[in-house]
Each structure stands twice: as C-alpha cells, then as structure tokens.
Amino acid sequence: MSYLVRRLVRGILLLAGVSVLCFLFTEMAPGSFFDEMRVNPQISPETIAGLRAQHGLDQPLVVRYGRWVKSALHADLGYSIAYNTPVAPLLWSRAKNTLLLTLTAMVLTWGISLPLGLWAAAKRGGVLDRAITVISSLLIAVPEIVIALALLATAARWRLTPVGGMVSSNFEELSGWEQFRDVVAHLTLPVVILVLCESAVIVRHVRASVLEVLGASYVQTARGLGISRGRLLFRHVLPVAANPAISLFGFSLAGLISGSMLVEVICGWPGLGPLVLDATFSRDLYVVIGGIMFSALFMLGGNMVADIMLMVSDPRIRTGAADAG
C-alpha cells in the first residue's frame, strides 16, 4: 500500500510543479487578453484597467497563483475571461469528448500493438516482422500532422468517414442506435490517426521486450526441456515482458493525449484541443493553464493505473524485492 501512497504523493507534487511552471511561462508570454481592446478607441484605458483589476490580473504573480490554488481547491481552476465562466466546468464538458477519443484510441492501440509485437518477436526475421519494421519506421519518421492531413484528405476525397465534428447535424432526430453509429462514424478518422501514430512505437517496444525475454537463459533452459509454446508464453515470457509494456502504457496515455490535441484541431473534434488552442490565441490564460492541468491529470491517472497494474502483476514490486540485487 505504501508504494501506491508514495506514487500518489509524488503525483500531487508533480501537479503542483506543473501549475507553478504554467504560471511562470504564461507570465513570460507576451500580450494579454485585453491587448486587442487597447487599440479600440471606444474603450478607455480606465475601463481596461478596471477589467484587469476585476480578473485580478493587476496583482503580483504570487498573489494570482495563490488565488488560483484557492480556486482549484474549490474545483473551479480560475475564471475564463472569454467565456465568462469558471474554467473547470468549461473544460470538463470538452474533456469528456477528449477522454472518449483518447480511451477508444488507447484500447485499440494496445489491442492491435500487443499481439502484433508478440507475433513479430515470435517470428523474428519473417515476412510479418520485416513488414512491421518497415511500416513502423515510416510511421515514426513521418510527422503526425502529415499523417493526419493525408488521412483527412483521403477520407474527404473518397467519403470514407464523416469529416469534422462529433455528430451529424440531424443527430437529435436519430434513434438511439443510429446516434451511437453516428458518433462511431465521426470517431473513426481521429481514432485511426491516433492508433497509427501511437501503435508504431508500441509495437516496436513490445517486440523488443519480448525478444529480450526470449533470449534469456531461463527461457532457453525451459525450451531445452520441451516446454509447450503456450506454457512458455504465459509462464515465462509474458509476465516478465509485461513490466516494460505496462510502464509504457502510462506514457502512451500521455502521448495519446498530446496527440489527440493536434488531431482534434485537424479533425474538428470538440475536445480540449480546439478549446485550448483558441484560449492560447486569445490569451485566456486560466483556460490554457486549466487545459494543461487536465492533460497532466490524465497522464498521472494513466501512470497510476500502470503502477497499480505493475503492483498486481509483479510480486517483487509488492514486496520491494525488485531493487534487491
């Protein structure tokens, strides 16, 4: 239990660190939400100063940070100047869509990458292994934005999937089942982009982990005794190769969240990505900070899940024997 508590405390400290850095960087960034008002002759400097004071932007950084922390403890995460509403409910309405996209992509990414990585390692040097090596190298080398734009163009040109948005304009008129199909159809393109980009890395990691275990002497010894393939896989290979894969699981969630921000903007998916991008351009600082904090929270959640999985799967972590030599 102390292992999980330690990880939780570390996670909270990390979130605090991320919030401090967010405030420092936004302070260093040029411009503010009220800059455009300054060039409008109909708005007096006194009005702008009043608005700044109303949102507390005239206060020193430390005071603003203190107020934001207090607001975060009340689950508000500050106040959006552009939307004139507390940040947390605004972000949460979008975060649900991001979570739907990210979790779907995550399940599919691992559902595809794990068996492919295992198969490639088991048939090392074979046709499938070589094909996976070539395709994953290409996918890793080509920037995510190029893959996203290429697939978007293909989907639009051949009308393969709906392009843009999360639902069709007649969504409310559809039956329950048709509504579900409509969301799935809109989800397909962004999910395919995320799965392609992320699985290229994961397949290679899984393949490398499994190959390392297959080359270990205890696996050779077991093979020398004529152990069955299934038993070798489930008793020796998978449990040991699982550790690096589980650790990667936490990181892959972070990769998918950052990737989803870009994909959401390109595919017009109404998630955190477009909201945070707009907030960045308009200098709606608390929305930007809140968006980053949500992403950090998701990433920590993913890592926490990975830690729990590691604890369940590896008795050495439970007993602390992993560090013993």
Binding site: S217, T221, G325
Partner: protein, 285 residues
C-alpha cells in the same frame, strides 16, 4: 612451448566404445534477414568429437568460432543442419520433436549469465523445480528433489523461498546447477558457466562441478575461453576456429605442446592477460 596453467591429472584413457556422446560432421548455418537481402553465416562447418562417459571435453576458441553453437546443438536448443549427435546408439539430431522428449532430460545446459539464467519473477525454489513441473512430476517428488539438489550444490534450503534476485551471482550459478541436476542428466553442457565470476567463486564452482562429476559420473562439455579453467577441469581440449575444430588432444598435450597456430595464439593471449592481471594486482598492493 610449456604452459603455466595447471592441468587436470591424467585419468586412464577411455575406450572408444565407452563414448557417451559422439558428434560427427555437425554443421549449422544461420540466415540473417536484412530488409532486402539475406546473409548466410556458416557458424559450424563439420565438427567431430566424442566424450567418454564421466569425462570432460573443453571446446575453446575465440568469440565467433562456433563453440557456443555446437553447445546449443548438443543441448538440443538448436536443430543442426547436418551431421549426427549420438548418445549411445541413438542419433538424437535425427529425432522428431516428440521422439526427442525423453532425451531432453539427459542433456542439460548451464549458461554463463547468472542474472538472466533465472526467471526474475521466481523464488529460488520455483526456479529449481521448474524442469520437474514441465515434466509433470507430482508435488511431493518435486519438493524432495528440489531440497536434495539445493543441498547438493552447497546452498541452504532455508532461503529457497526468497526471490532469485536476492541471490548473489555465485549463488545463482549454484541454483542453475541445482536446477540442471533435478532431472538427473548424464551430460552437462557448461557454456562459459564459470565466466564472469570472481576468482574465489570461480574456484568454488569448479570444485563443486568436479565433485558432482565424481559423485554422479556426469559427462561435461565445457565451453570456455579461459585456459586456467579448462586446464583444471578438462580431460580433452578441442580448439575451434572458423566453425571447425583445428586441434584436439589431451589437456596435458595441448597445454605443453600445442601445434596449431590458433592454439598457440589462444595460450599466448591468456598468458599475457594473466601477466597483466598480476602486474595490476602487484601495483595495487
């Protein structure tokens, strides 16, 4: 050329028909798959040797000479491309996978790397009993065999419920030997099993192996590049280069009057390494 390395006392010459293992014309090649072109590596090209029951033959040679490939073929971890591996009257290289099963327990291998020689998820007891589990032996027999094997290699049974990660390199090597002994093998293939251990531990494991050989009439195929280890443990030495055996003879002959340039070169390098080590040790005192 006279060697500085101590050699094993000569035992009576075995009769040829008493050979436990006969390897004849063994060949193995690997096809390395590049993306566009395949590369063929001839690892072993027609190797012949025999080991009498209860004796030790050492295969020596530099890295890439093919000695570990021979070991893996003999230990049935690799299928040879050509040649025969006779145990008694049976050519085990020609057997099907199912027909091979009863022979697998007769040959066991002990690897160099003590860290990767045990499943890191296992306790010592689980690691040692694994071969018996694979063979489907019942729990009472497994427990008894594990205890006797662990005792035999000089470890206490009190600590065998600890994770293998909590054992030292030398202790893990003893566990690896205990694991091999559980299936009562007749031939142990020791692939650099003493390499990477400190000198004191190396000496203890070598003594243990010699004691076990005497107690169980075990036959050893010893793979090593260390003339000191080979001189101490082997009855016969075969030197490999380029996938072939280039010289073979009794340990005393090979250490005192080597003929092939590869043997001379190996002994000279080993002697230079020993001299350097002595110089470093002397300087540090």
């Amino acid at each position: 050329m006279v060697s500085n390395f101590p050699t094993r006392p000569m035992s009576p010459e075995p009769e040829s028909q008493n050979a436990f293992l006969r390897v004849s014309g063994l060949a193995k090649r690997y096809v390395r798959g590049g993306l566009w072109r395949e590369r063929v590596v001839e690892a072993v090209r027609g190797v012949d040797f025999e080991i009498a029951a209860g004796r030790t033959l050492a295969l020596v040679g530099e890295s890439g000479s093919g000695k570990s490939t021979v070991a893996r073929c003999v230990a049935l971890l690799e299928k040879s491309d050509a040649g025969q591996i006779w145990i008694g009257d049976t050519d085990i290289a020609s057997l099907s996978l199912s027909a091979l099963l009863p022979w697998r327990t007769q040959v066991q291998m002990v690897f160099q790397d003590a860290v990767t020689s045990m499943n890191p998820r296992f306790t010592a007891a689980e690691a040692v009993e694994e071969p018996l589990l694979i063979m489907g032996k019942d729990e009472a027999l497994r427990r008894e065999t594990v205890r006797s094997s662990v005792n035999e290699v000089g470890l206490s049974v009190d600590g065998i419920e600890r994770s293998v990660m909590q054992f030292s390199g030398g202790q893990r090597q003893r566990l690896a030997i205990a694991r091999a002994l559980t299936v009562r093998p007749k031939l142990l293939v020791l692939d650099e099993a003493l390499t990477g251990l400190d000198l004191s531990t190396q000496g203890q494991i070598a003594n243990l192996l010699l004691d076990l050989q005497a107690a169980h009439s075990l036959t050893y195929l010893l793979i090593s590049h260390d003339p000191a280890v080979v001189g101490r443990m082997a009855d016969v030495i075969a030197v490999m280069a380029g996938g072939r055996i280039v010289e073979m003879g009794s340990t005393a002959e090979m250490m005192t009057a080597p003929k092939h340039e590869e043997t001379i070169r190996l002994l000279r390098s080993a002697r230079a390494a020993q001299t350097n080590l002595a110089a470093i040790t002397g300087a540090s005192l």
